[in-house]
Structures are given as C-alpha cells and as structure tokens.
C-alpha cells in the first residue's frame, strides 16, 4: 500500500501546489491544509487518500453522466422513439455494489488505524523501552477564554499555550461551563472540552517552531467566534526557561513606573476576585501572569492600550457590545473611571516575566506577510512610530527582564537560547 500511496502523494503534491498558488490553502498558522504537527500531518494523509478515492468515484459518475446526457437526448427527427424498457442487469448491479465496497475498505483500514493512533495518550517510550515522563497540561475551557495549567510545575497561564517543539504534549481537558472544542488546525484535529464528568485527553506535537492559531469549535455563546487562543511552539531549551521564569512570579512584584504601581493597587482591589497573577488553579477569569507578552488581547483584538482600556470598561453580559458580547467579566470594573482603567492597563502591560515571548517562536513558520497580522505590536515598532511602541518599551525595561527587549527584534531567538 505504501508504494502506490507515495506515487499518488506525488501527484497530489502537484495539485496542492497549484492550489497554494491560487491561494486555496489558507494561512500557514491556521490552515489544516498546511500541517505543521504530527496529528495534522496524519490527518492530512488521510484526507488526501479519501480525496483520491472520491475523485475516482466522481470521475466515473461524471463520465457516464455526460455520456448519457449527450447521447440519449430525444431525437428531433424521431420524437416517438420507443426506448427498450430494461428491467435491470445483474452483472452491472453487482459491479457497482462490489467496487464501492472495495474503495470503502481501502479508506476504512487507515481510518481505524489513525483513529486509534490519535486517541493514544499512553506515555512515550525511550530507546530502552521505558516509559518517559510526559508533559501534561490541564486545559479548562470557559466562556470565553482558555486556562492552561502545567501539571506538577506550578505554572498557570491562559489564552496562549507555550509548548516545546518536537515533543509530545499531553492535554487533559475539561470545561467549567458549557461545551467548547479545542482546535489548532495546523497542528492537530479538534477535541471537545466537556463539562465535569467527561474529561478528554489528547496529544499535541508541533513540528516547527511558531505561533499557531487556535479556535473554539463548539458553539458556546455569543462570543464563540472570538474565543481564539494561540499555541506557541518554542525550542525545548526556551520552553524550560519559560517555565522557570513563570515559576518565579508571585504577583507581588512592583512595577517600575508610578502609574503602573497605582494600576497594580487598583488591580488588586478590583480584579483579583476573578483574575490571578502567578500560579493558581483556574478562577472565574483568565490568569494574567504573562499578560504583557500576549499577541492578542481577549484572544483576538490588536494588542494595544486603547483596546485594553476599552476592554476593561466594556460591559459584556446583558449588553450587545460587539467587543466582548456575552462576556462574563462584570461587576467591579464598571465603576472604574477612564483614568483608573488606563492605570490598570498600564500595569497589566508590564506583566512580562519571561524573555521567551511569541516573537521568539516566529521564525519557524512565518517569513512572509503573515507576520504582520500576527504581530501588529512589532510592526509598529519596526516602523518606529506610535504610542504603543513606547508602552512596550516601558513595560519591558520596567520589568527588568533582560531578554524581553530582544524579543522585539526580529530573528533573535538564537540569542535567547540560554539554558
């Protein structure tokens, strides 16, 4: 089977190339048609196999179809032509029963294989055949954000999941409210995130460093379509560094600038019932430990202070605000004045405990214009203008984390590999 499979694959690669040229395969950080992970690659193979089978079927049907329509139209000169009233034909009927069965078997066998393979969450074995320690992350879905907790590591974060590249990460998923579904199309297929009682497990293995876009794929309320998250695949060394940096955070660190300090006070008075900084089990709202490193705000908005202030002040629940419709973030923040919100925003944007930021991961996959959409922050900086750029600088220097300023320079991941 492998032999002819590869031949077909070659042909198909050409077809795919043609599609790429015509823009039919989407963006590399989002598209299932440009697999960058173990699961996505397996599934891609299966897709191609099935498409080939379907094309065979379709061609057969279309050939007969075109032939009969062209050939057997009523003749103008002989409208009374009486066709033979055929009852059927056993040989033919057997033929089109048996051939589809064979085609389906060809599809069914790898389907079953892959279904089992993708469901396998047993620990990996090393060369001696011993079980290795697995990296487990607990994922909690909530309306409308994602909580990530690294098991036995005392590290929690939300919205942006850091994983080491080329290592299988084990995910254990549950929801604290309705059903969500965890989907990073370019790395792997999706898995539902069920409420209590039905915990799901899956593995995630990214083959290239990079930032990958994740989507919630199960209708979960008004903000379903903007419940985006990212998976940031970094080198194993960077990953370890990141974990270390994250473990160091207590939430009590004082930021440098005075406004940020005021912001911190306000944050602690108003926001801590729902949000946490530093390792914590999931709360009502997202964990903000490394909020300063986020690529997107609220999962999907451009990361800048204006948006953040608006976010803090927008009502979600009960109102039709289009920024975060149906969002549960409610109560206290709405008594905040513009100034106070701005201070909190200022503080939050300083939260950057680690030099390992999404920027480090960028040169895995995206070298083209995709960068722009992913990193508006950086775009502004390279163009050397805008307030938010200053905010960024501020935040980075005030945090005093040595690597973070590197993070804003293109292609500097190399330098950050200091284990």
């Amino acid at each position: 089977m492998k032999g002819w499979m590869s031949k077909f694959k070659a042909i198909f690669a050409l077809v795919v190339l043609a599609l790429v040229l015509s823009g039919c395969t989407g963006k590399p950080f989002l598209s299932a048609l440009q697999p960058k992970g173990e699961g996505a690659e397996m599934i891609y193979d299966l897709m191609i196999l099935s498409i080939i089978i379907m094309l065979v079927v379709f061609v057969v049907v279309m050939v007969i179809y075109t032939f009969v329509i062209v050939k057997y139209r009523q003749k103008k000169d002989d409208p009374d032509f009486m066709p033979k009233q055929t009852e059927g034909n056993h040989a033919l009927e057997t033929l089109w029963t048996v051939i589809p069965i064979i085609l389906l078997l060809i599809l069914a066998v790898p389907t079953v294989q892959y279904t089992f393979a993708l469901a396998d969450t047993s620990p990996e074995l090393n060369e001696e055949g011993e079980e290795q320690d697995s990296l487990w992350v607990n994922i909690t879905g909530a309306q409308y954000w994602w909580h990530f907790e690294y098991q036995d590591m005392e590290v929690s974060t939300s919205q942006e999941l850091y994983i080491p590249v080329d290592r299988r990460v084990y995910l254990s998923m549950g929801s604290q409210d309705v059903i969500h579904s965890f989907w990073v199309p370019s790395i792997d297929g999706k898995m539902d995130v069920n409420p209590t009682g039905n915990t799901n497990e899956m593995t995630l293995l990214a083959k290239e460093e990079g930032v990958y876009w994740g989507k919630c794929a199960e209708l979960c309320g008004p903000s379903h379509s903007i419940m985006d998250f990212k998976v940031i695949a970094v080198s194993p060394g960077e990953f370890e560094q990141w974990i270390k940096d994250m473990q160091g955070v207590t939430g009590e660190e004082t930021p440098e600038s005075a406004t940020a300090q005021e912001g911190q006070q306000l944050f602690q008075d108003n926001c801590m019932t729902c949000h946490a900084i530093g390792s914590s089990p999931n709360k009502i709202g997202p964990n903000l430990t490394n909020f300063g490193d986020r690529i997107k705000l609220g999962g999907y908005l451009d990361y800048n202070k204006e948006n953040l202030v608006e976010w803090i002040q927008t009502k979600g629940l009960g109102e039709d605000g289009n920024m975060k419709p149906g969002n549960q973030m409610t109560s206290a923040p709405y008594e905040l004045s513009d100034e106070e919100a701005a201070k909190i925003a200022e503080y939050l944007m300083t939260l950057s405990p680690s030099g390992i930021t999404p920027e480090n991961a960028k040169d895995g996959v995206y070298k083209d214009s995709d960068l722009k959409s992913l990193f508006p922050k950086e775009e502004e900086e390279t163009e050397g203008q805008g307030e938010s750029q200053e905010d960024n600088k501020d935040e980075e220097s005030s945090q005093g984390s040595d690597e973070s300023s590197d993070g804003s320079n293109e292609g500097s991941s190399e330098e950050n590999n200091d284990e």
Binding site: I51, K84, I179
Partner: protein, 618 residues
C-alpha cells in the same frame, strides 16, 4: 356588490381549508406553509451571508447572529423541508396506490395543524425575549444556560410540531399497508410511494427519541430537573446522543422522498422504466436500516473513544454502497432512453453530480480520524448543504414542478422554471463549493464574524454573492407561481406523458379520487395500459357509493389548545391559567371527538354517473 360576494367566497374557502380532511387539500396546506417557511429560512440565510460578507463585519450583533443561525437551521429542516415532503406525500401517495384517501383523514389534518402551530410558536419567539440561540442541535448545557425563553420556544414548538410529524408518519405507513388498490402489490408500488413509506417508518422510530430529548430539555429549563446539568450529576452527552439518534435518521427522512421524486421524474422523461427497480427498493430499505446505526458520526470529537468511533465510522461508510446503487441505477435508466429536458428533469439532472459531491464529502467526514479536522468547520456546512440543498431542495422543487399540474390543474411556465433552475444551481455551487476550502483553511462554523488576515476574506465574499443568485432564482419561481395561477390555463390529466397511476385521473382529481378502484396490472400501471391496453386504467370494482369522511374543525382546535398551553407552561406564574385553558381546549376537543360518532357520508352512485369524465384519463 361583487366584493361582498367574493368575501363570502373567500370565507367559505378559508373555512373549507381550516376544516378539510382531504389529503389533496392538506397537501396544498403543507405546500403553502412549507414555502412560506422556506422563504423565512432563506431570508435568515441571507442575513447570515450578509454578516459574513467581509471580515470583522458588524452588520448584526453576536447574539442576534446566533438566533438567526439557530432559526435558519431549525426552520429549514423542521418547518420547510419536512412539510414540503409531507406536501408531496399527501398530494401523491394516495393517488399512486389508488386509494380513496389516507388511512386516517382526521389525523392527517391534525398532523398538519400541529406542525403549523408548532412552527408559529417557534417564530413567535422573535417577538418575545428573543429566538433560540443554541444552534439547531441545541447542545446542552448551552441550551440550558441560555437566557430568556428562546430555547423554551424551541423545545415546546418542536415538541408540538414533532407530534404532528409522528402522526403523519404513522398515517402514511398504514395507508400504504392497508389501502393499496387491487393488484398494487408492494413490488409494484412506485418508488416515490416506497420512499414515502420507508421515510415514514424512519419517522416512527426516530421522532420518539427527539420527543424524549425535548421533554428533558423542557423539564431541565422549566421545572428544575437535572438531566444535563453537570453540577447536579447530570450529563450533557445524553442530549447529544438523543438528538442524533433522532437527527441522523432525520436526514434520511428528508433525502429518501427526494430520491423517490427523482425515481419518478427520471423514468418519465427518459421514457424508460426505472433500471433495477428491486435493487432500488432494497437500497432504500438498507439505507433506512443502516441510518439507525451511525448517529455517533456527529460525535467523533466528543471523546467516545477509538472503539466507538471506529465502529460508527465504518457503519457510516457502508451507507455509501446502497446510495451508490441508486446513483448508478438512475444513470442507467437514462442510458438508452429518450431524454426530454423538461424542468423537473433538469432539476433531476442537476441533482446527480451535486448530490454525489455531497455524499462523497459525507464519506470523507465518516473517516473518524479525519473528522477531527472537518468537524464543526465550514467543511461540514458545505457537506450538508450539498446533500440538503443539492439533494432535498432540488428534489422538492422537481417534485413540486412535476406534480404541480396534478395538484392545481395548471402548468408552471417552463422557461421561467429553467431560469429558476440555472440561477439557483449556479448560485448554489458558488455559495457552497468554496465553503469546503473555508473549513479546511480553519474557519469553524457558527462564527458570527471572522478575522481579517486569516485568508478567509475572498471565499466568504464569493459565497455571499452565490447566495444572492439563489435568492433571485427563488423569486423567479415565486413569480412563476403567481402568474401561472393568475392565468389559470387548465391542463389535461396527463400533461407529462407519465407512467404511474396518479396521472390516470383528471387534474386536479375529483375529491373522491378514483371513481372506481383501479385495477393494477404491473409496475407503472398507466404505462402498461398505454402500451398494451387502451390507455385507460381498468376498474377493479363496479361503480358504487363512495364513503367519505366529514370535515372537522376539531384538529385545528386541538392544536390551538396545545399552542396556548405551551405559553402557560413556559411563563408559569399567573400564566398557568393559559396552560389550564389550553389543555382544557385540547382535552375537550378530544372528548368531543370521541363522543360524537363521525361516520362520514356517501357520494351516491347516481351522482357519480352524472359526473363528467370516467375517472380515468383517455
């Protein structure tokens, strides 16, 4: 003066339709209601497509989008496709088997009014606290936490219309089992009757699961039960199972009668008998049987585990085999025929490649591992519109156009029908073909908006443009209907030179259908008489009195009662009064019905002899 006369005429006609138990008139009721809801659902689809015309669009709000999306799916499936299928079944099945009417004319009318009031109930939600917003699948616990009364309207509205459907289903099974004319053996039944029969069987066994699911949803939301609430030990997955145990057979309930339509249209216009009749029947039964064992293919990503996923994957794929048998049988019916490209035929020919694509993407979805990528993405949206619009809707329109002369005695304009077809067909492929790619490129379904710079802009735009083509096509059809009925040119009983029994009587048929029970001498009885006999169906019985059921207003009242009661149950508090009143009306109507003998009346032999025409067509 003439105005008052017309008014009285209108009032009488209205009363006639409110009380009718005649299958032909009930068919027309279903048709009108179905087309109304189809336009409503279509307008909702247009809202969806306009919202998705460009990235970050804020044409409608997120909450409203979810309501529109839910109502689009629910309306199209339950209030447009189902009743249109019932419209054709009512108009055609009794005629095709040479029956006087359906087995339970009273229940038939009850079925319609239940469906109708259920549909109205669902749509009342727009004006009261907002429409349901949890998707047509109403997955718990989202549907339980959903605020307002939207989901209550969904649960109670569908419950009421579901009862109607169930009754309709039983009615048609009994009709086919008990009321076939002499000589009409099972294996001589036209395929449309066969598929209507099998679809009814599916209704019988699929709808109870929905009934129970909806009851539990209602109890959870309104009476504090805990079926789906994880905090109280409930389990949301139960809803998914119950919904799909119903939901998957439901899609075959929709498609099988469409298959039936094509199996009538293709032989008629290819001037050939259906190729492989018995394997067509066999395939229909097999699809129905397998259809009950595959529901979990909608739940591959739920986490049922690889064993369950594999079993359901393979079972699902198996359905491609009987369906393939059908496709090839149609192709070989065309083979060697003499094809006339009338508008129903064009719809049938448009259906074949379209449905094949939809079926093929279905098989791709059935590949469980690969479905981890496809699931809940626009790939699925593309799949089911290919099978539903490309299969069911094309089938319904083919059937409506084909049987229009039989139902109304007039002929739709062929040229306009062709325009309708091409606009709709091209628009359809523009809208949905491209959605396969959108899905694979990472666009999940049920998304109120998509973001810029994700490579999704162009295809969404094209898709929206396609939808406008479909809308224009539909408008052409509506225009056609109106001018045809205004002109009102009458046609003969057999305008298409067709093959089956229904074409042997005048169009529209007299209210008692066949004057004498027809004698069926084989498959395609009219064709047999045309080629081997004198072109007329022979009677099986001498002319005698005809027993007819009485009209009744009771079905309307029973349904109205449930409709009113629904509001009481929903709003509770002082509104419980409504529940008491409503259930009172329903129970009272039922008692009235059972205490008053309804023996029907007779059309006398002498009157029949006076009638013009001999009940068969020359």
């Amino acid at each position: 003066m003439s105005a008052t006369a017309r008014k009285a005429g209108f009032g009488a006609a209205l009363w006639d339709y409110l009380t009718t138990v005649d299958h032909k008139k009930i068919g027309i009721l279903y048709l009108v209601a179905g087309i109304f809801f189809f336009i409503l659902g279509g307008l909702e689809a247009m809202l969806i497509r306009i919202q998705l015309i460009s990235p970050n669009n804020e044409f409608i709000s997120a909450q409203f989008y979810n309501e529109v999306l839910t109502m689009h799916g629910t309306t199209m499936i339950f209030l447009a496709a189902m009743p249109l299928i019932f419209a054709l079944m009512n108009a055609v099945v009794p005629l095709q088997i040479g029956a006087r009417d359906v087995a339970f004319p009273f229940v038939n009318s009850l079925g319609f009014w239940l469906f109708f009031f259920g549909g109205v109930m669902l749509n009342v939600s727009w004006f009261v606290t907002g429409a349901p917003d949890a998707g047509w699948t109403a997955y718990a616990p989202l549907s339980i936490f959903s605020e307002g009364h939207g989901v209550d309207f969904y649960a109670i509205g569908l419950q009421i219309s579901g009862f109607g459907t169930l009754m309709g289903g039983i009615n048609f099974i009994v009709t086919v089992v008990n009321m076939r004319a002499p000589g009409m053996t099972y294996m001589r039944m036209p395929l449309f009757t066969w598929t209507a029969f099998i679809a009814s069987v599916l209704i019988l066994f699929a709808f109870p699961a929905l009934t129970v699911g909806l009851f539990m949803l209602t109890f959870d939301r309104l009476f504090g039960a805990n079926f789906f609430d994880p905090a109280m030990g409930g389990n949301a997955i139960i809803w998914e199972h119950l919904f799909w145990i119903f939901g998957h057979p439901e899609v075959y309930i929709l498609i099988l009668p469409a298959f039936g339509v094509f199996s009538e249209v293709i032989p008629t216009f290819a001037k050939k008998r259906l190729f492989g009749y018995s394997s067509m029947v066999f395939a229909t039964v097999l699809i129905a049987f397998l259809g009950f064992m595959v529901w979990a293919h909608h739940m591959f990503t739920v986490g049922l585990g690889p064993i369950a996923n594999s079993i359901f994957a393979v079972a699902t794929m198996a359905i491609a085999v009987p369906t393939g048998i059908k496709i090839f049988n149609w192709l070989f019916t065309l083979w060697g025929g003499s094809i006339r490209l009338t508008s129903p035929m064009v719809f049938a020919l448009g259906f074949i490649p379209t449905f094949t694509i939809g079926g093929m993407t279905g098989v791709m979805l059935a590949s469980a591992a690969a479905d981890f990528q496809y699931h809940d993405s626009y790939f699925v949206v593309a799949h089911f519109h290919y099978v539903i619009v490309g299969g069911v809707v094309l089938g319904l329109f083919a059937g409506i156009i084909y049987w229009w002369p039989k139902m109304f005695g007039t002929m739709l304009n062929e040229k306009l029908n062709h325009w309708f077809f091409w606009l709709f067909f091209i628009g359809f492929h523009l809208t949905f073909f491209i959605q396969h790619f959108l899905g694979l490129m990472g666009m999940p379904r049920r998304y109120w908006k998509f973001l810029p710079d994700q490579g999704l802009d162009l295809f969404n735009l094209i898709s929206t443009i396609g939808a406008f083509f479909m809308a224009v096509g539909t408008i052409v059809f509506l225009y056609n209907v109106i001018i045809t009925q205004v002109k009102g040119v009458k046609v003969s009983g057999d305008p298409w030179d067709a093959r089956t029994l229904e074409w042997a009587i005048p169009s529209p048929p007299p209210f008692y259908n066949f004057k004498q029970e027809p004698l069926v001498r084989g498959l395609d009885p009219l064709w047999i008489e045309k080629t081997e006999g004198n072109g007329k169906i022979q009677p099986a019985t001498p002319l005698g009195d005809i027993h007819m059921p009485n009209n009744s207003f009771v079905p309307f009242m029973m349904s109205l009662g449930l409709f009113i009661a629904g509001f009481g149950v929903m709003f509770q508090g002082t509104y419980w009064v409504l529940a008491v009143i409503g259930f009172g009306i329903t129970a009272g109507s039922m008692l009235y019905r059972s205490f008053k003998d309804d023996l029907g009346y007779h059309v006398h032999k002498e009157d029949l002899e006076d009638e013009k025409g001999d009940g068969s067509n020359g």
